[in-house]
Amino acid sequence: MNPREQNLLRSVTVTTWRFYAWVGFLCTVLAFGAGAYIYQMRAGLIVTGMRDQVSWGLYITDFVFFIGISHAGTLISAILRVTDTGWRRPITRLAEAITVFALCIGGPMVIIDMGRPDRMLNLFRFGRIQSPIVWDVIGVSTYLTGCILYFYLPLIPDLAILASNSQVSGWRRKLYAKLSLGWTGTEQQKHILERAISIMAIFIIPLAVSVHTVVSWIFAMTLRPGWDSSIFGPYFVIGAIYSGAAGVILSMYVLRRIYHLEDYIEPIHFRNLGLLLLSFALMYLYFNVNEYLTAGYKLAGGERVLLERLFTGDFAPIFWTAQFLTVIAPLLLMIAVLGIPRYRSYVIPGVVFSSGMVVIGAWLKRYIIVVPTLRSPYLPSGQRLPWEWSHYRPTWVEWTITAAAFAAFMLIYTLLSKVFPVISFWETREGEPVPVEVAEVRTPGWWRPGAVVAPLILLFVLLHATPLKAATPPAPKKPAVTTLAVEWKPATENQVRDADAEEAEGPGRVYLYSGNLFNFLSGGAADREADLTVAPIAIKAKLLDAAGNPISFQPVEFSIKTLLGTLSYGTRPTLGTGEVSIVLRDRRRGIYPLHVEYKGDDTHAASQSVINVNFGERPKPALPKIAVLITPYATPQIELPFVAFYGTMWVAFLYTFGYLVLVKMRRAGVAPALHPEPAPLGGTMTVTQPPRAPSGTAT
């Protein structure tokens, strides 16, 4: 090992009192956070500042922030790998580490925010693919798996190097040897590993984009002013890469200072990443203008209230601080140190200071995304409620847990920087950039068994063809006949026209907001007019006295007994023939008892009659057709793309890790080691396979 590698090795082997003090400090913060969380579990979320109106607060802010920070790591490392950038070698490891650790913190923030974390498994028992929350569960868990693999794969050769190094203590060498999966460093192994890393790098890029898009969709899939925005997906992705790039620069600076890695992390890295950060800053500026100008130009109802709060109201200080820290200040500072020759000597402090501002500003910006929108609903429910029920002020519990989240992030980083070297030995050894073959993933004949596609189709057909159980219509009651004879029949055209001219519909009516919707998501066209069709029914009653003679000019009352009351149609006089008729143009379905009543007078006794009138078949119990994505079953239009996208990712992970690394790479590890300094392997390299001729394999 050369001196700079010896120095790097010291970061793993030597621990100072400063390290223990720092870990002790972080553990203290973490303990306070754990205490606060236990308190919150006991008392409920009432101990936070969140209430019905602002029902998400710091926890969701932290969640979005950490998921955002997690992006750049992998994305930058993956992009730099795919484009085979030479200067990436010393910084990919620490970028990937940030990703894994930030995800480990960001994911649980949602659990901390949950009212019933004990019921978390309901997400798997009853999960609905229509919900953005489930999209996040799928996306983030896939992403975390991918990032752990992507962090682990480039680590394998370094683990073998450490396992063979005498400065490392015994149990750690055993651990490293186990984890290095039989890496001996043959040319073939190297080739396979680089291929595996390339595949992961290619797949991790769309995955990272999808995850932050899905996070933004939690907000964008609502009807809230400020969230109901079509650019939220790309806006979040850019914001995430931007804050993540800043996170990478910050950690580069910190690790360089602490472990004296000046030989590895040079000003060129700060300059190049600074240029990257500058370009992200410009893109972020563009997205900010796009987001706020389109809303601010029109100032439509709810948006106006929100923008007033942001620009000049209670959120203005945080909003403008966030804008200053994320856009204005870093842009000016980085243009100065990167673009103006006389300031070039300040490139490291300038870029690092910008990154610090960006990270703080990004957190504030997440707060500005989450809280003000919830504070400005369409129907503010703050009337007659105490101030704190409509406003949001985080409590000490939330601040403590947030601080603990940051402490946990740094603690994982600190501890794992002691376990795994923060800079890749083997990659930096390849002084000259070696062209990495960008693997073309071919999947020969994977569909051939036909066992994937057919059951999938079958599954969806079965799941969505299950009919709702039909309820039986109410049994008709027997009519009671008295001297008041009643009959009903569907009304003729003339009767309809005479009945009520006022009720007739005009031909050119305009429906505000509700048109006929071809609803491809719920399957079937919802026809508004069909629901409104009226089948008029003519009722004819005949009032006769005991001898069977008609009684004329007597009031006869019509009414229908409904479930909750009696609907009266008023009183009509009988004609000379004793007949009285009425046309019902109700939008009613089903069979109902129609009461016809003659109250009687001095000469005639009262009489009444009931007849069951069939207004047509009651509709079968069904969920509203107009609804979108509310069925109790999975919606294939949502499910299939998710299965296809994330399923592809899982297949790629399984292939890369399960096959390429676990099977093929270990098999190839029998040739003599290619380390420049042949070191004893400590007798722990047991996982080797006898050489096999590659028969029938397409490599």
Partner: protein, 281 residues
């Protein structure tokens, strides 16, 4: 281990195929054999389509509906399942009282967003809330444009009467910490052929309730009117129609009021605390 790439993918495909096939068969079989198990929740015990009509011209803002609802459901403090707002559409127009129950939307955003199906649409139009299943993520609160949902932030204060019965989605109590609650049109009353608590209590007869299929709605004074007729003649509107939620609650415009307007009410009862919309401030 003699695993080739093709062999690996074949294994993967077979494994996935087997899992998917078994899962599909199991789920299909289960839904066929116990056809009521899965969709039963979504099928209402009766085949009505409940609808509510609130005549704003008759609402005098007494909040008896809120009190009756809270008493019947033991609604925890700071929650109002039906809340009476005092609103103004602009700075010039006078204010009116707007009772806001859950709108029981036909295109409910809360149901779309619920990750576990704790809130679900029933065939009789009610958006139900199952607090045995709710995980407390509050996505439905974020989704609801009517602010009709509330969360049990702490352990709600219990009473003997509330705890006397086991939990049921029909009445949504005993209340539980960490779950979301809302108005559910009193399914327990409906099953007995009674009006929901708010409608039966309203002395002004402002809240009409009934079955849309029956085309009749009844208010607390026992007056039954034809739903389609009052909706047509009264030019009924639904709240925030532009959001496409298709509520099942209709409002008749607050014109020709026969009671003091909110302003006059405030003037006479100077002691009562002023109630203003936050937005208008």
């Amino acid at each position: 281990m003699s695993v080739s790439r093709r062999g690996f993918f074949e294994l993967l495909a077979r494994g996935t195929g087997a899992i998917v096939a078994v899962g599909a068969a199991w789920k299909a079989g289960a839904t066929r054999m116990f056809s009521e198990v899965l969709p039963a929740r979504s099928i209402a015990p009766t085949d009505q389509k409940w609808v509510m009509v609130i005549d704003l011209a008759k609402c005098d803002g007494c909040r008896d509906c809120t009190k009756a609802c809270s008493a019947m459901h033991f609604v925890p403090p700071m929650q109002e399942w039906i809340k009476v707002f005092e609103v103004s559409d602009n700075n010039v127009a006078g204010s009116y009282f707007l009772p806001r129950p859950c709108m029981q939307c036909d295109n409910p955003p809360c149901v779309r967003g619920c990750p576990v199906g704790a809130t679900y649409k029933r065939s009789d139009g009610i958006v139900m809330q199952d607090d045995d299943r709710c995980i407390g993520c509050r996505n439905c609160i974020a989704q609801c444009p009517y602010s009709a949902r509330s969360f049990n932030w702490g352990e709600p204060p219990h009473t003997e009467a509330e705890l006397a019965r086991p939990y049921s989605v029909d009445y949504n109590y005993p209340h539980r910490k960490g779950t979301v609650e809302k108005c559910i049109f009193c399914p327990e009353h409906l099953r007995e052929g009674k009006l929901p608590a708010c409608a039966s209590t309203c002395k002004m007869g402002a809240i009409y309730f009934g079955d849309e299929v029956e085309d009749a709605v009844t208010n607390g004074k026992g007056e039954t009117v034809q739903f389609s007729k009052i909706a047509k003649r009264g030019a009924a509107f639904r709240l925030m129609e532009e959001l496409g939620t298709n509520p099942r609650v209709y409002f008749l415009p607050p014109s020709s009021r026969k009671y003091p307007s909110p302003e006059e009410k405030h003037a006479t009862a100077a002691a009562s605390a002023p109630m203003t919309m936050e937005h208008s401030k």
